[in-house]
């Protein structure tokens, strides 16, 4: 099936975090497509078949709920990277169908194991 790719779409406005995540993911044989804001997400999702979207939850131009809706419309699972004290946001996003929500900072191994599960999932 065409959907079985190693492609991750990463939405992370913070350059330091983005660079670190990118190199970690590449080391684990993921192809990473980085977008700095979620405004073009629907187009990106229409043009490619990522295995998963990984996104910072507080984006300047797009509410997390909209990022989630775009992913759901494309049937692509999404893992949010969020913040302490945003527990209600985490609960709401999970209830609306996010795959997971990690509180920054998180152990790299935690993110990798969530992604690995998605990669091996049929």
């Amino acid at each position: 099936m065409a959907g079985k790719t190693n492609l991750i779409i990463l939405i992370e406005p913070d350059e330091a975090v983005r660079t670190a995540l990118c190199s970690m993911l590449k080391q684990h044989e993921w192809t990473v497509d980085v977008i700095e804001s979620a405004t073009g997400l629907a187009t990106t999702l229409g043009a490619s078949t990522p295995r998963v979207v990984v996104s910072e939850s507080s984006l300047r131009d797009t509410p997390a709920a909209e990022v989630l809706a775009a992913c759901k419309a494309a049937s692509v699972p999404i893992v949010f990277l969020g913040h302490r004290h945003e527990i209600q946001e985490a609960v709401d996003l999970m209830r609306k169908g996010a795959h997971d929500y990690l509180e920054k900072p998180f152990p790299q191994a935690r993110l990798l194991s969530i992604l690995e599960e998605l990669r091996t999932e049929e």
């Binding site: 302490r84 945003e86 527990i87 209600q88 985490a90 609960v91 999970m94 209830r95 997971d100």
Partner: protein
């Protein structure tokens, strides 16, 4: 499922919390029952008939998460809302992944809790009435003979009596008789109702 606005089961080891929840729910028109621990709840011979659970996370003995798992394992569809004094994202995320309806951190506004309860009860009742309808459709369709079932399948696919007859290699008159029996046994008043009943069962199988 209970009548009226709904009946809520509270499991919390803090008596003051139980009492204030009871009063709040009562003032909003809900009935409630309370347990001081998950173990006391589990010791009951049968589960209460309720529309939602309010569970504390941390309790002496069996904790809220374990109680939730137990309810899910028993095939319980009743929504579970967790209330916790310790806002912990990994805990909240895991609870929702395991099927909890909602998660609320203390301190919270009364309005917030009531909104979450109202949502949960509404969704539960909608699900419940759909499950009841599926069950009713199953019971009725189970009464059909294999031949009547064949005729039903062709009708819901949009075939006319004549086309169905050709498919099954029987006379249109025989199809008519089967068709009348199908309508009678299922209590369906129209083909549209039949389609809906058959559709519910198909959905349920998936």
């Amino acid at each position: 499922m209970s009548k009226g606005k709904g009946r809520i089961c509270i499991v919390d080891d803090d008596e003051a919390v139980r009492e204030s929840l009871r009063v709040l729910l009562f003032s909003a028109g809900y009935q409630s029952c309370q347990f001081e621990s998950a173990d006391a709840f589990l010791a009951e011979p049968s589960r209460p008939e309720v529309d939602a659970y309010l569970l504390d996370f941390r309790m002496p003995g069996t904790d809220g998460m374990t109680l939730h798992k137990q309810l899910v394992d028993e095939g319980c569809h009743v929504p579970v809302i967790f209330i916790t004094g310790h806002g912990d994202i990994p805990l909240a995320v895991t609870a929702i992944q395991r099927g909890a309806a909602d998660f609320l951190t203390k301190p919270f506004e009364d309005r917030e809790l009531l909104e979450k309860i109202e949502n949960a009860v509404r969704q539960f009742r909608a699900l419940q009435s759909e499950l009841d309808e599926i069950e009713a459709a199953r019971v009725r369709l189970d009464e059909l003979t294999p031949r009547e079932r064949d005729v039903l399948d062709l009708i819901v696919q949009g075939h006319s009596n004549k086309q169905a007859a050709a498919h099954l290699n029987i006379s249109p008159r025989t199809v008519e008789i089967h068709r009348a029996r199908v309508m009678e046994k299922t209590g369906a008043d129209s083909v549209a109702t039949l389609v809906r009943m058959a559709g519910l069962l198909d959905q349920d199988k998936q």
